[in-house]
Amino acid sequence: MIKDMTLGQYYPVDSQIHRLDPRTKFIVIFVYILAIFFLKEPYQYALLFVGVFGVVRLSKVPLSYILRGLKPILFILLFAFVMNLFLTPGERLWGFWKFNITKEGLRLALLMMARLFLLIMGSSLLTLTTSPIKLTYALESIFSPFAKIGFPVHEMSMMMGIALRFIPTLTAETDKIMKAQMARGADFESGNIFKRARALVPILVPLFLSSIQRAMELADAMEARCYHGGEGRTRFHELRYETRDYIALTVFVLFFGSLLCLPKII
């Protein structure tokens, strides 16, 4: 059930994209997301699609695996498409009763779909090719300047790291508790919304209890090994920029630069 969610799950293979410094990937994705909203022309999107699928190929993550992960948000994509298609005023192409499809609507709907799709593809590529631990290291490193003004960067990233680390554990635990209650005849699938909400109590209570228990044990285990926060703490794996990071950044800048400049040239 819950295990079928592949969206944003790390896919452990070895590829050029996996080996990139997580900070490189973070910066690239950040700029990429901003840039998506500056693109206006269909051919720009077409080129961007080519670029993204090229990165997918390089990352060695099967395309079918990524697309399967998109299933849960298919509804949102379709919803955005339909809303834009019917609710944009303009030159009428086709229609029935009060619903009209306009030329502008069709264009906007397609662009919106492409944007959302690219947005999600891009961000899931980041998480698919970067382990959660590396993601938090990157965040900590990018935000480290803020530590000077008293912002607890290390603590925040440690918290995030722990949270990410325990998602699979909690998923497995939820699955186990659900099964145990189902074996006692619990029914999570029928009834109205109130009945269904009440049916969750036998799952949530044990889940909370064991989470609190686990949190206390983890805190003890960390203190027992003299954890005292970020001050003076060193790393086993230091993040270091390599040649491939400079190459990746250069390629990225050239690609996006030309993509954004194209309309002015043509």
Partner: protein
């Protein structure tokens, strides 16, 4: 026939990087009233097997029939089956969630839609069966000791009056006393219903089970009455298991020329044979 499996396979995460075959073409039958122990190394597919028998997982191929209900890949709505087959998971105490022990035990019967009076009877009966006296009724499950929690959780399953009771490592993590007590309760249940349990303790299986299934890497490698299983020392060690201590002692004694007819495996039998000799 109370339980039939035919060429049952189960695969976790099919068609992905994490694909693992948990069970590989397993076939066996269990008659009603039998007490069957399942042993095998960690990851041999024992827990998966129990979940299949309860319909929580469905076989990828093959065919299962439990108490007259068939389970295949496409079967839906197994609520009726779960009424017949009680499954106690490993470390079942995490499933406790109600304010009082009695309420928690009543969860299963209440889901079956029984009358208040009947629920009351079932709770009482189940608490008697696991040896929790009336003083526990109004206690919070969180106040109980590990062993008591375990028994309360088992009572929660027994209260549904299953015809087949399955337990996944019922004594794991209990102290010797809690373990001893629980084994005694299981001995009381033995014969009253079909009992299927997983255990890592050879002593325990030797004591409780009549018949043993040995799993290794998803395959059923041995299915024999309990005494015969412990004659297969080589096979058991090959799949990462061991003989009960007493059986090992007799195996060594026989290797050195002692004329015992078999590997005794129960402590009492072993002591008797060693002090008084075999009676034929």
């Amino acid at each position: 026939m109370s339980l039939i499996l035919k060429d049952v396979s189960y695969i976790y995460n099919p068609n992905s990087l994490y694909e693992t075959t948990a069970l590989d073409r397993i076939s066996f039958e269990i008659n009603s009233g039998e007490t069957v122990g399942i042993i095998g190394h960690t990851g041999s597919g024992k827990s998966t097997l129990l979940q299949l028998l309860n319909g929580l997982l469905k076989p990828d191929s093959g065919f299962i029939e439990v108490a007259g209900t068939q389970i295949t890949k496409t079967t839906k709505n197994l609520a009726a089956l779960r009424r017949e087959v009680g499954l106690v998971f490993q470390y079942p105490e995490y499933q406790l969630f109600e304010e009082t022990v009695a309420k928690d035990i009543a969860f299963g019967p209440r889901n079956q839609g029984l009358s208040q009076e009947e629920i009351e009877n079932r709770v009482q009966e189940a608490m008697d069966l696991v040896g929790l006296d009336a003083s526990y009724r109004e206690k919070s499950p969180m106040e109980l000791s590990g062993g008591e929690k375990r028994r309360a959780a088992i009572a929660g399953v027994l209260a549904m009056r299953p015809k087949i009771l399955m337990l996944d490592e019922p004594t794991a993590g209990l102290d010797p006393q809690g373990r001893e007590k629980l084994i005694r309760q299981l001995m009381v249940l033995k014969g009253k219903l079909t009992l299927i349990f997983i255990s890592h303790s050879m002593e325990e299986v030797a004591k409780i089970a009549d018949r043993i299934l040995v799993l290794s890497q998803g395959k059923l490698v041995l299915d024999s009455p309990v005494g015969e299983v412990f004659e297969e020392e080589k096979l058991l060690t090959d799949v990462g298991l061991d003989l009960p201590v007493i059986a090992r002692l007799f195996a060594r004694l026989r290797e050195r020329g002692c004329n015992y007819s078999k590997n005794y495996y129960l402590l009492e039998d072993g002591l008797r044979v060693l002090t008084e000799g075999e009676d034929d």
